[in-house]
Symmetry: C2
Subunit: 310 residues, 2 copies
């Protein structure tokens, strides 16, 4: 079983419009409501890969019921902790051409006592867990070290842990020795400083991360690991819905870690699964036939950059 | 006491953004949630005018609690009927310049049995009521005659009734002999046909409406009544938030009907109160000092159009 922590769960709402015209009024057609947040998207894809998952995180308010109803409907096991304040909505306004405009609420404050309850849940789950994933932003009121403490718990149990995040929490996760930290290029440069992804990734590894994976959007991803460093790219530009593509990559990296797969295979898998996710209309969905078709087409190139810190 | 029926209650949500950029992702700052829908806005303004109100309508789903919590917080008496399906959200994205972009959900289906329950409530309330207001669109699944039956009940009790609506429901309300039907010019032309507001208003009066009031947005309103026909305009273009301005006008027209005020006074009042509402940031709010200041400045002109059907 893989524990997936979503610190800032969302209720994803989709509004369809013909065209989004700022300043005007739109009647929006039938509204899809789904449990969202990066960790939940990762869990959906892990389940599609045949992994058993247990979803942890915080929910609250009138939106909490819609989140848990959707998880129950999808058969995703969850033990979400109830907090004061309402689970945020993330509203996607999608026009006829498929372009999405997003409005992300902030989410409820999560006090230290609630984080302590989550740590207890993670500690209870780790003896049975094959991996731990902590994915997505921390809700307001959270301490950056909360994420690092989860990494420490996983290390205590020798369970591989992947953290996909940003800001101080990402830095703290690296310092706590996370097996994999994952970020996009902007998030990485933001926390590590400078303007070079290679140097920033090296900095996170110097701080303690065993591997750093940087997503490059449609261009694929690049990774620095103890086995080596690679850049992986999809065979061609894949057009579709990029929301959740990074979460599909996270799921593949975790599944690869659980299987003990070599890093080049993990990266091919993650890049192909990410591309497969782009072909799906909703975040957290993949068609494994797309994945299988795309894996052998992924372009993988080993980094031999001077000064690359292995 | 004035009965206000809001067939399609909303939860009004406001997102503040610096700038709305289609195709991009926006973090939205603290979210205001308020009970909305035209009838509820009318009730808020009636209460500000010193009238006792009872709010009727349909609510359901996770959003229902947020609606009734807000009404309770505002001290607005309500007897809302619970239906399956969720009360719609109406999301206003407001940028730094104050420009609002609206996304209006459709609302839950309301079956005939629920309309029958509402009719029973209205019938029970009418002996104590000074007026009945039915305001806003009908929810999916509603019969256009539902509104007309409410008009019939009010007539039975000799209680003045105002219907602010559109489509077949507006036509049916006119045919049922509503004391006042109110619409904007587009809605009126849509139901009465043709391209002339005067002819369309005459058609609604021919069908049975005792008075027809047509809102002209920032230009004011125009009315055809048994006493005469007038055009009323604010003294100057009032800039601000037009959402709910029409509902403030409705409240003034109803209060005028309850007081038995002459139509020219009702129209001055309605135009000034509508302008006062534009000066407020939220729908359903007015500052009565603005109202008092604006009443003597309203421009009122009697119609002497040839062929005007009095």
């Amino acid at each position: 079983m893989i524990l997936t922590v979503t610190p800032n769960v969302a209720l994803d709402v989709t509004y369809r419009v013909d065209r989004l015209v700022p300043g005007s009024s739109h009647r929006v057609r039938p509204v899809g409501e789904r449990a969202g947040g990066k960790g939940i998207n990762v869990a959906r894809v892990l389940r599609a890969l045949g992994q058993e998952v247990l979803l942890l995180g915080f929910v609250g308010g009138a939106t909490a019921g819609a989140v848990t109803d959707d998880l129950d409907r999808c058969g995703l096991a969850h033990q979400l902790i109830a907090v004061d304040g309402a689970t945020r909505r993330s509203v996607a306004v999608v026009d006829a051409a498929g372009e999405a405009t997003l409005f992300n609420e902030e989410g409820p404050r999560v006090p230290a006592t609630m984080w302590a309850a989550l740590e207890a849940q993670v500690a209870a789950g780790l003896p049975e867990a094959a991996a731990l994933v902590v994915s997505g932003s921390l809700p307001p009121g959270s301490d950056d070290d909360a994420c690092a403490r989860l990494v420490g718990l996983a290390a205590d149990h020798r369970v591989p842990v992947l953290v996909d995040g940003a800001g101080g929490a990402l830095l703290a996760a690296a310092a706590a020795g996370a097996d994999i930290v994952k970020a996009n290029a902007g998030e990485l440069l933001d926390v590590a400083g400078g303007s070079e992804v290679t140097a920033a990734a090296a900095e996170l590894r110097r701080r303690g991360a065993r591997a750093v994976v940087v997503s490059l959007g449609a261009a694929g991803m690049t990774a620095w690991t103890e086995e080596g460093a690679w850049r992986a790219a999809p065979p061609a530009r894949i057009t579709g819905n990029p929301t959740g593509a990074g979460d599909a990559a996270t799921a593949a990296l975790v599944a690869g870690a659980v299987a003990g797969a070599p890093w080049p295979d993990r990266l091919r898998d993650a890049t192909a699964l990410s591309a497969a996710a782009v072909l799906q209309p909703t975040a957290g969905s993949v068609d494994l036939r797309d994945h299988r078709r795309l894996v052998p087409l992924v372009l993988l190139e080993e980094h031999h950059a001077p000064g690359l810190d292995r």
